[in-house]
């Protein structure tokens, strides 16, 4: 098993490569979801503040 | 129409000559930057000769970048750009005139000073002619590309630094072929293909950069 992780001595390059790829992809996803939720919550708040002017889509 | 273009070129020249210092500073930047390299890497003649073409070209491109402020920014700030846009002359011709003026004030002085810097960098004799030729073809291209960068960043925050980030990648092909032409001359190989490519870049830059700069100027003044 540990021999597999070693990958003939090259493990120290292969695993970080995959780690970096994963980290970048996950952080793009996380950032996207975070800003989206933040903005939609803000939008919701602003709309509820315009009491009664509930026109839904057209702003 | 040509008269108006000529007038714009003269106007830019006159303005620049009144603040002659600006153009002079760019020239001094060019000289000082090239001087930094022997100080940084040591004065071993072969090393300098090897680096010479590259260093001179890089310094020339950086100096051009510094001078882009003068191209559109000042006119944008004092409102004369909007007036120029309202004139009956097509914007594209105005851009051409301004780029021509910019080259006369920046590119041409750089070219004149270049032989001195080639001496600093211990360039072999064979390289001088092509050095001047490549810069003669290349500095107008850098003015054109710079015009696009300058027009795009009008009204932007940190416009000056942003321009560098935008156009330095675009300068790379110019740099590569400019230097390779000189290296070819020094090495005794044919320079024609390199100069032809530089020429092609110039011919392509004229319509493309003019279009891009005009489009950006219109956006800036909307």
């Amino acid at each position: 098993m540990s021999e597999y992780f070693e990958m003939g001595g090259h493990g120290i390059y292969i695993w970080p490569a995959y780690m970096i790829a994963t980290a970048v992809i996950v952080s793009i996803l996380a950032h996207t979801l975070h800003t989206m939720r933040q903005r939609e919550r803000h939008l919701d708040l602003l709309r509820r503040k315009r009491r009664g002017v509930d026109d839904g889509d057209e702003v | 129409m040509m008269r108006v273009c000529g007038q714009i070129v003269l106007r830019d020249l006159r303005l620049a000559l009144r603040q002659g210092f600006d153009a002079f500073i760019v020239l001094m930047f060019f000289v000082i930057t090239v001087t930094l390299f022997p100080l940084g890497v040591g004065s071993e003649p072969n090393l300098l000769a090897r680096m010479g073409p590259g260093v001179i070209w890089v310094a020339a491109l950086l100096s051009t970048m510094l001078s882009l402020d003068r191209l559109f920014q000042h006119d944008y700030e004092d409102g004369s750009l909007e007036l120029l846009l309202l004139s009956p002359v097509p914007l594209e011709l105005l851009v051409l005139a301004k780029v021509a003026a910019h080259w006369l004030l920046t590119g041409l002085p750089l070219i004149i000073v270049t032989p001195l810097l080639a001496v600093f960098m211990n360039m072999p004799v064979e390289g001088y002619g092509v050095l001047l030729l490549s810069m003669l073809l290349g500095t107008p291209v850098s003015s054109f590309i710079g015009a696009v960068g300058g027009a795009l960043t009008l009204g932007a925050r940190r416009g000056g630094v942003l321009v560098s980030l935008l156009i330095l990648p675009l300068y790379i092909p110019l740099l590569i072929f400019g230097v390779s032409a000189i290296d070819a001359a020094i090495g005794g190989l044919s320079v024609r293909p390199h100069l032809l490519i530089l020429g092609a870049m110039l011919v392509a830059a004229i319509p493309l950069a003019t279009w891009a700069a005009s489009a950006s100027l219109r956006q800036a003044c909307e």
């Binding site: 996803l29 996207t32 803000h42 | 960043t153 009204g155 416009g159 290296d183 800036a220």
Partner: protein
């Protein structure tokens, strides 16, 4: 649909499909439908691709196990280029046909493209070290990707440099088109520069002769990344539309 758009569209068979997606709310509805699929397919393709890449595919004769890095490096290079191309197309649509959502699509794509460029550069470096003993090698592809990285950063910087987002969007659209013209020139000149300065040993980060056991993980990772891009695109455009609506409300309130 605004009358102006209707007038442009009538009689033109090519513009109509494009403008079907012009309405933000319609886009949001379509996006909502697409997203679970693209997300699911992305996870599936990447999952299977990773399994094949890390466990099933054989080590290369010359490169031994390090060839496994290729399964992340090459697809990410493809994505970096593909995403830039889609940014160029959307920028053209925004500038020339004034498609309302096109510059949002370009803006949303940029960070994803930048991310893949970073992955490509980092994995390329990690591939280069065991192969040629250095962390960075001025190989034609890596150098071109590095320049592409600068183009992406320039785009994002220009987009965010203006107080008026519309101005930023239009300026970066022009920049994207300028970059499009330059990209082949840059690639050509870097390739050529690389052959000029090629040291004695071959320094091309070459994909080995592709056997089917290597082709599958490569393609699966590429598809997985593409579906990931589509998913993120939908989410980010949704986010941008929300931001635009927020700005509109705030502007309306400021005017009183």
């Amino acid at each position: 649909m605004p009358e102006i758009l209707r007038a442009k569209i009538d009689g033109n068979p090519y513009i109509l499909p494009m403008f079907r997606f012009a309405n933000p709310n319609r886009f949001l509805r379509i996006g909502k439908g697409i997203m679970p699929w693209s997300a699911g397919l992305s996870i599936l393709c990447i999952g299977v691709g990773l399994y094949l890449a890390l466990f099933v595919s054989p080590p290369d004769y010359q490169q031994k196990e390090t060839v496994r890095i290729m399964y992340v490096h090459v697809p990410s290079a493809w994505m970096a280029l593909f995403i830039y191309s889609s940014m160029v197309i959307s920028s053209a649509m925004a500038l020339i046909w004034k498609h309302p959502l096109a510059d949002l699509i370009a803006k949303a794509s940029a960070p994803v493209g930048t991310g893949f460029t970073i992955i490509c550069l980092a994995t390329g470096s990690l591939w280069g070290k065991p192969m040629w003993g250095t962390w960075w090698v001025w190989d034609a592809r890596l150098t071109s990707v590095l320049i592409l990285f600068f183009l992406y950063l320039g785009y994002i910087a220009l987009n965010n440099a203006f107080d008026d987002p519309a101005r930023g969007a239009k300026a970066s659209a022009v920049l994207a088109l300028v970059g499009a013209v330059n990209l082949p020139i840059i690639k050509f000149s870097v390739d050529w520069w690389n052959t000029l300065h090629q040291p004695a040993s071959v320094t091309r980060l070459d994909v080995p002769a592709v056997h089917s056991s290597m082709l599958w993980p490569l393609l699966l990772m590429a598809f997985g990344f593409t579906f990931f891009y589509v998913t993120i695109l939908v989410l980010r455009v949704r986010s941008e539309i929300a931001a635009a609506k927020i700005r509109n409300i705030q502007l309306a309130e400021a005017r009183g």
